[in-house]
Symmetry: C2
Subunit: 509 residues, 2 copies
């Protein structure tokens, strides 16, 4: 679910002006362990370019999809091999009650440790919707962006993750030692809501290793056309649930689909689902109406409002609307207010509805079962557990206790302090590289960062990366390899971004 | 949609006692043109048995499915050939704005004319759900019933229709003249709600031919285990509509699916559909709440109530519940009241819901479009046109004018007088054959009989037939060829039923 978190970087003008040119990133900086290191590493990055491209392509060609139980064990093995190849000395496949994860450490004898979060799974796809076969990872020319790899997982997250690994390969190839030690934790269930990720992190050896870290990043590639990136200080939490109404559980209506003429004297589980659903939101569908859902909602702070106001000023509302294909925000609210809502409000969304006959035309049946796929997003200080309990209680109180609420995955909101080293190191890299960047209080998208930022680990955690890709969860997902836009880094520039980040983390006060 | 109309014949005890044995049907009766005719025809039926079975099988192997635009032109040609082979002298393919129909006449020089309605299309099917391939029309042993043909269309309606044709073949093979002249009208769009059938009937030559008829029957094979059949004096009307909510029509929400994190400030066409839907029915989903929908509903007459009371007494509520897989009727009403509701109340049913992601697990999208497939059933004196207009007005009045209401097909309710020759001839055949039979005021299922019973034709019309099959619209649809149940006719007995019916129509006063 690592997409769309930087939607409002689109069209952003420079917020914090760094050095003027991207080339600055490759000049020796204060963070470098030794003068000259950066040039040598840059050379190794260039030498390793073809191998790095091949690494992304091969990974895309070996998909793991948790929702379809596709190649999960193989995917974990593949992930473990990638870690070993990149120099991790200890690499361990970690079993869970679901699909396995991978835990790896690279002890470079450095003073500080840094955590890295990877997902090795990708979202489902339908090849018929793609202009290039999603598992072929073809290299194509994409107007405005340059040469891209197109394939499922290209930007979400194999491309950025492999770019991070390319940085490790390059540092080693250049004969340098890593400036920080690394802890890698990878899961294969991100796209189904990370239901077992905390099991990985809670393993004593994994927990002990992470506890030493300055924080955790997940590699990302979200530069906008003007080169800008957002640094998210947190993300909403998420639960995904299926609401299932059935004649079987209800004790009314049919046990299997029957002829629709019987509706006159037989109850309908589909109507029941519709009636249960409509109690969950306001009449306009925009405000959650689940009893007590706002109980723990923490209002935006003055600082958060100020950051949003800055983003609203610096980003084009028209561009955002165009990108989303919308003409109005809810309640016809103005841009800044809609961004405050985006960051601060919990949501109840219907991802999908499935009941009865779904093919072309009609079929005169009274379905025995109806399903609504929902996602609920949470802000601090809501929790997944409490939100699920409130949803169930709300339905039960209205007599819908038979409507099953099956949670498939989810996690609490995540937050990271603005003054943490992980955030300040990101700002330093972007500033040195001349990349326009801004702080954003909370991404409306979700990722399981709370596993790191929440108790007992309580580490800073967030996305970081240069480069660009798009189309997560959608057809024609891509990741830029050679950028035709001087403001946006290609694979090698993005690789150097990770190199610089590791040196920044090592040295920042 | 020719299924489930005899659901309450299941378990019926003899209502009207006829002659004790089914064999009576094959004894010379008052209706016969000449003594000895029946025996000769019976012999021809037996001689032609294998050819009759092959005729059903071959027709099933050549499916036409209007919803999928599958073999429609070929299906009409096939239908035309069947008519020619059965002795119709004039056979004509009739174009419509949709798929073609077939019009045929057989002038035997008799005094009276009888209309026959055929459908050559079948319902969609999923071979994966069948225990026997749905287009192979295999002959299998079915416990309790005997040898059956299993395949799509076996009972709905190719089996019964081909049985009627077998009667014509047998009469000719026996060297007899048909006792009545025939008008055949066939359509290929019954399963999509007969949207163009009235165009066929309104053609001047078709209309003129039908106008001469005593009435119209559609062949059916719905004998229950005890041999019983219902004679329906009418059927509810039906409209099938798709309600479509989309960002495009609404002018709010997205134009294409977007990431669900945007729900906080983007309107959802899916929630809009849910909110629009829930206004259409009472909170329990059972009573239509469309403004003015009951305006033209005609209450049951005393005679209709009496017929239902008789049916309620003579039929097993437990068997009906078991067949439908339900434990309660709506509002926990008692059996008789629920049957009155079934015959007398209009309904709004959801056949299917489709929005966003419908596969396994979840997908964090905010869908741009949501569709509900509805069927609305109507009782006299409601009309399809008025019901559609009321549905649209109801939505518009509540601000849902952007929710598209796309009607795919439908027709008004149909009614036939109890004292018409078509009904009395049926009663005579069943009585002579010792088949328990009862009158039922109105089937809750629907068929386009109103094209015949309504103005300007105003003919009696209904289903007729002996024999048995089941599974219309469902997997493993079948039609009995050789009955192992002495109370239920096989193919030859059902064929003789049509023979007798034609003689009854010719002679009844």
């Amino acid at each position: 679910m690592q997409d769309d978190r930087n939607a409002f970087a689109t069209g952003r003008r420079t917020l914090m002006k760094g050095a003027a040119a991207g080339a600055m990133l490759f000049a020796p900086g204060a963070a470098l362990a030794q003068s000259g290191d950066m040039a040598a590493i840059r050379k190794a990055v260039e030498t390793g370019h073809d191998a790095s491209v091949a690494r992304i392509q091969d990974w895309i060609r070996n998909p793991s999809i948790a929702a379809e139980d596709l190649n999960m064990d193989q995917g974990a093995d593949y992930m473990a091999r990638l870690a070993r190849d990149a120099g991790f000395q200890h690499v361990e496949k970690v079993p869970t009650d679901g699909h396995p994860g991978v835990f790896a450490t690279l002890d470079a004898g450095a003073k500080r440790w840094m955590g890295i979060y990877f997902m090795y799974d990708v979202k489902q796809f339908d090849p018929a919707e793609w202009s290039s076969p999603p598992l072929e990872a073809r290299i194509l020319d994409k107007p405005d962006w340059g040469k891209v790899i197109m394939g499922r997982g290209a930007v979400n997250q194999k491309g950025p993750e492999a770019t991070f690994l390319a940085a490790l390969h390059a540092i080693r190839a250049a004969g340098r030692k890593l400036p920080v030690n690394l802890v890698l934790v990878a899961e294969g269930e991100e796209e189904i809501g990370s239901p077992h990720f905390s099991q990985i992190v809670q393993r004593p050896n994994v927990f002990a290793a992470l506890k030493k870290c300055e924080g955790v990043i997940i590699p990302a590639g979200w530069q906008a056309k003007n080169g800008a990136v957002s640094i998210n200080l947190g993300a909403k939490g998420l639960i995904e649930v299926e609401l299932v109404s059935s004649g079987e559980k209800w004790g009314r209506g049919p046990l299997k689909d029957i002829h629709s003429s019987q509706k006159a004297h037989v109850d309908s589980p589909v109507w029941r689902l519709v009636q249960a659903l409509q109690t969950l939101v306001s009449a306009d569908g925009n405000t959650p109406a689940i009893d007590g859902l706002f109980e723990h909602v923490r209002p935006l702070t003055a600082r958060e409002k100020a950051l949003i106001a800055e983003n609203a000023r610096e980003n084009s509302e028209a561009d955002a609307m165009k990108a989303l294909g919308v003409k109005h925000w809810v309640n016809d609210e103005p841009w800044q207010q809609s961004l405050e809502r985006l960051a601060s409000q919990p949501t109840v969304n219907i991802e999908g509805l499935v009941a009865g006959y779904t093919g072309p035309g009609g079929k005169t049946i009274l379905p025995a079962r109806a399903v609504a796929k929902l996602d609920l997003r949470m802000v601090p200080n809501m929790t997944a557990e409490d939100t699920l309990a409130k949803l169930k209680a709300h339905l039960a109180k209205r007599g819908f206790g038979d409507v099953e609420v099956n949670m498939s995955g989810g996690y609490d909101p995540t937050e990271t302090a603005e003054d943490s080293r992980v955030i300040r190191a990101q700002q330093a890299v972007y500033t040195r590289a001349g990349v326009p960047h801004s702080l954003y209080p909370r991404s409306a998208g979700s990722w399981p960062g709370v596993v790191f930022t929440g108790a007992p680990l309580s580490l800073p955690a967030g996305q970081f990366g240069l480069g660009h890709g798009s189309g997560a969860h959608a057809p024609d997902e891509y990741y830029v390899i050679e950028s035709s836009n001087p403001k946006v880094e290609g694979l090698d520039g993005a690789t150097m971004g990770y190199v610089d980040f590791l040196y920044q983390i090592a040295s920042i006060t």
